[in-house]
Symmetry: D2
């Protein structure tokens, strides 16, 4: 690859919310060309008739999954933004053909097919790839991602949660049996498929917890944090649905293993993320609006001396750092681009 070369990428599952965000970012990226946009639901439709913001930008029709196979020559990266369970077969196929894949679904995030089956209720159709796939969180796995063939792009909740907790765990600062993650997400995290629960009038003006203790992102968070300390983390993860389009706030509670000042903790976090452009360690409490529309993860740390707890709060845009932006970040690493290429803009408010 020469500097300045344009790479060819394709998106499978381009009409879901994560797929669409990917298209937005790819369209904006100076170094890539979109070879195709594939969609189960909208094949043969103009992409810009589904998402009318692209009128004048994207002239392509969506293709179907079969047509993907006719468009693989000279493809550098395939992004897969299908629901879990729908990704495994096509990913296996593409990988076997030598295509590098960034999979935004959950299908290749868990190392163990048994754990996958337990939490997703499905027999895994690509077990042999589970050990090979790289968990695509650049802040922890940058080097492996560089030469990865199959990148399992992290879930939105795990991205915020793992980034919030990794420095504490890596530095043995907390009692690992005490971790509680109370996370709040905008509605786009639930996707664009039809469901009474995500109708406007059902979500607006209400907040609820769901999947307490049994949300599928739990084993993903536990796996990555356990790997980090070569230990065995068991934690409690509680997601909540908030009436807004975008954003995740993860409020993480931990018992300190030793007394520590907040300044010292901030220093530890800043060190830990010193070469990680997209993590901003703050001296104040984050809000999702400051990262909305950006690839940043903002992290704030609070000590409660009364109860000897450290509370770490992480804010991301679930569709960007929690999905499509992170996928681009992974692509940049894989293709040798600057990691922030096409992602280097602040959140847009209000």
């Amino acid at each position: 690859m020469l500097v300045g070369d344009i790479m060819n990428v394709g998106v499978i599952g381009a009409t879901g919310y994560a797929g669409q965000q990917l298209v937005w970012l790819l369209n904006n990226h100076k170094r890539v060309n979109i070879s195709f946009l594939a969609s189960h639901s909208y094949s043969d439709n103009l992409y810009s008739s589904v998402y009318k913001n692209y009128k004048g930008f994207i002239q392509n029709n969506c293709i179907n999954i079969q047509q993907v196979y006719e468009n693989l020559s000279s493809l550098d990266i395939a992004f897969i933004a299908l629901p879990h369970g729908k990704s495994m077969d096509i990913t296996k196929d593409l990988v076997s053909k030598g295509i590098r894949v960034i999979d935004l679904s959950a299908d290749f995030r868990l190392n163990s097919p048994e754990v996958y089956k337990k939490w997703y209720g499905l027999e895994h159709g690509g077990k042999e790839l589970l050990q090979e796939s790289i968990y695509g969180l650049p802040e922890l796995n940058r080097d492996s991602i560089k030469n990865g063939q199959l990148i399992a792009n992290p879930g939105c909740y795990p991205t915020a949660s793992i980034l919030a907790l990794a420095p504490l765990l890596k530095n043995n600062l907390i009692d690992i049996d005490t971790i509680i993650i109370d996370a709040k997400s905008g509605v786009s995290g639930a996707g664009r498929s039809l469901n009474t629960n995500t109708l406007f009038c059902e979500c607006n003006e209400s907040v609820k917890a769901y999947g307490i203790g049994n949300h599928r992102h739990t084993p993903e968070i536990e796996q990555e944090l356990s790997d980090l300390i070569n230990g065995n983390i068991s934690l409690l993860f509680t997601p909540h649905l908030i009436p807004m389009n975008r954003g995740i706030l993860a409020t993480c509670y931990n018992k300190l293993a030793q007394r520590c000042s907040v300044e010292a903790l901030e220093e530890i976090y800043k060190d830990f993320y010193s070469h990680n452009y997209f993590v901003r360690v703050l001296e104040y409490i984050p809000e999702t609006k400051w990262v909305k529309g950006s690839n940043f993860c903002d992290i704030g740390i609070v000590l409660d001396n009364k109860t000897n707890r450290v509370i770490v709060i992480a804010a991301i845009d679930n569709l960007i750092k929690g999905a499509a932006g992170q996928a681009i970040q992974n692509m940049n690493i894989m293709l040798g681009f600057d990691e922030w290429e096409g992602l280097n803009f602040p959140g847009m408010i209000p």
Copy 2:
């Protein structure tokens, strides 16, 4: 008092959000007459010019605080819905004149003037009343409320939090050092005074934590739960601001002191609240929309065996069960009405 008698009540601070909700409920109540509506900001204005929903219902002008004193004869109850610090003097005055007062501010909730000073930063001007005032949570203090002279109406977060945790504590079911309350509130909880933080564009499409570990409702929750067990509870309370008008969801995390089934816990809760119409113990997870516009507190219980934690979730309408509705409930008890008089309707959705 004879059955059927109409009681006279006045509202001081009638133009804040809690005051307005109180007016809505009093207007709807068959057994009371509103003697006056007092307001610092809008005295001499038609109440229905400030809150135009009352056009045709309320013809009164707002009076000022001085005029309140000319309207005390034959007053049965005075409601005070002023900000903390503004209530103590007038409350003391009214109580000294023999008026029964329900104070919605925080001024008479804490027993200790030192604790008040520490958390509110003010010298308390009515210390002698702190021991006399009754914490107006009917589910715990119904009998004292009945003959109370000064009722300190609970805060919104404390109402949800205490109702969620009381049965666990009273039955010694949890390790009391492990309590974490992660609460989410709609914006009306912040009141109607001008503040950049509560402008539409600042709150909408965002979520944030605030006052972590130092929110003023913390000592109130700790005091009441400590009293309940004659012990000393120290807990972590973290409120969050959610882009919606009304509602509080309190997600309460606790380590179980002993193994226990969720069915057994539900039974314990149902027993505990068996004579409490406004607490509904659910077999599912509550959402704020189901209590919006009502005086109910919905409580759901989840066990996470993996981490041996019990998670109790309580949902209320912050302006009703968290403020004005509870004040009416207290009034009903004080005046010998049915506790649900004027409050007996379900939430209004969507």
Copy 3:
């Protein structure tokens, strides 16, 4: 009927948004008993499992449409809150059995089966009833409603539009060729059936016009206004979708036929609606929030001398005065109750 008698009513289509609002109001109404709640989608389910706000209030299961027929004895009124096209057959049946029906669908609003077919695309299955059915707008048709057998409850947009325009037309104040109605509705008006367009993320943070010039409420508005003047009104109606749960604001533009002061117009409106409790003629511009949760229609009038236009703005809660509240108002008239029985409360804000 004796004063104090309790009447029996049933709701067919009780699990849509309008049906649910009807249940809320009926539950609150002192003079009626709910005989049954019927639902296509949720028959055999506890009503309070679909709408959990009713926990503790309603113990009934939903019945299916077949079971309705086993529950007709001693039924005083049947409410039908089914989608258009689904109501005509059952309405015909019930009417033929002597049941008085209030139909919230559009099926019996238009007098002409040809017009119905043109706008709704369906052959009408109950043509013979079209001339008999009464258009249930009490402010215009109170006397006919009193003894009506079949009441066609008005659409939400027509309620606001007709109430806004009737006094102008009745008094020959405007050039009837110049009427434009630009209406804005909350999302609950679109109902609770699954549709990508009403998902939270599709509606939130956006506004759009739809059905310009061809929305099905157009002929309904034209028919009623034409009847009012024994003329032939042709107007332009443009609805818009607004990111909120409830409320309709209809901004109605008209060329004045003669110069007139705003005070004179307000007087004319006040006269016109002098015996109509639920219409409030204002001296200011209405907002939907002041009628949210109530049965009121607020009307404001503005003159633009520069262009010789009178702009009339009407605000209603689309689910109450625009649907279920108006149905109750009709029921009260039919059963000889006070017209405001069960509806006599102001809007709830915020």
Copy 4:
């Protein structure tokens, strides 16, 4: 100027919503350097402490207006995003010093000081510049903007309204006495200053009309449309406030002067805007979400043959095409950049 030169710009009034959006766009623009950010309210504060999305992007403190004068050397363009009335003096000063100014306030939009005084209630302090200033709507005035010294950046409502109506008027297609503009705006249009009316709980879940017939954007729209036809347009403009952050939808009603097909009208519009990248003429009805976060103006046309009216609907992002984006577009034209430099991205949804 050489190709590739970086130009220096400053922003006065950088902490309002329009100013902030300008900063976002300038920060993203490859050809400019931000020399200073000035703010009355936040001088001496880190810009990124006011708008925390800029953490890591902008290290500058806000300067005060006095300090602006010390930073004028080598300044190529000054943007002024102050409230009306506050801009005139500093603009006059800067222009007199030879600085090219793009003023986002209303102060230099109206040609006549009398009209300014009538609508804004202020004596104009820079009358002599009113004839010189260029109305900065590139689609109509591109050539004058190129060499302009003082650009009056259009208001948000006028941008949408004028773009919607210009082709009809220029082609004599409508009866000019019949124009009605019914516009709907998100809350950011009201700015960031403290006002009870823009508190979250006051705007959320409500819609209202305001300033009917007397909104200050009326003379601005009339002036520009009148200029376009060398005539005298008098129209009715009615703005509404919608519970969303961003976006304006202008629904424009006009009587056709002659029969015309919708296809012919679309052709006329496409011709009219053929060299105008940021206007997209659609074959469908626009929604604000498709332009949110972009500089596009989407226009849709509907004919209502029944009433012989043409309805033109325009959608913009009020902070971008309606303010800061248009200012950048003007800057690009003034500095000889590609007009879309720094603006060439589609809207971001959801």
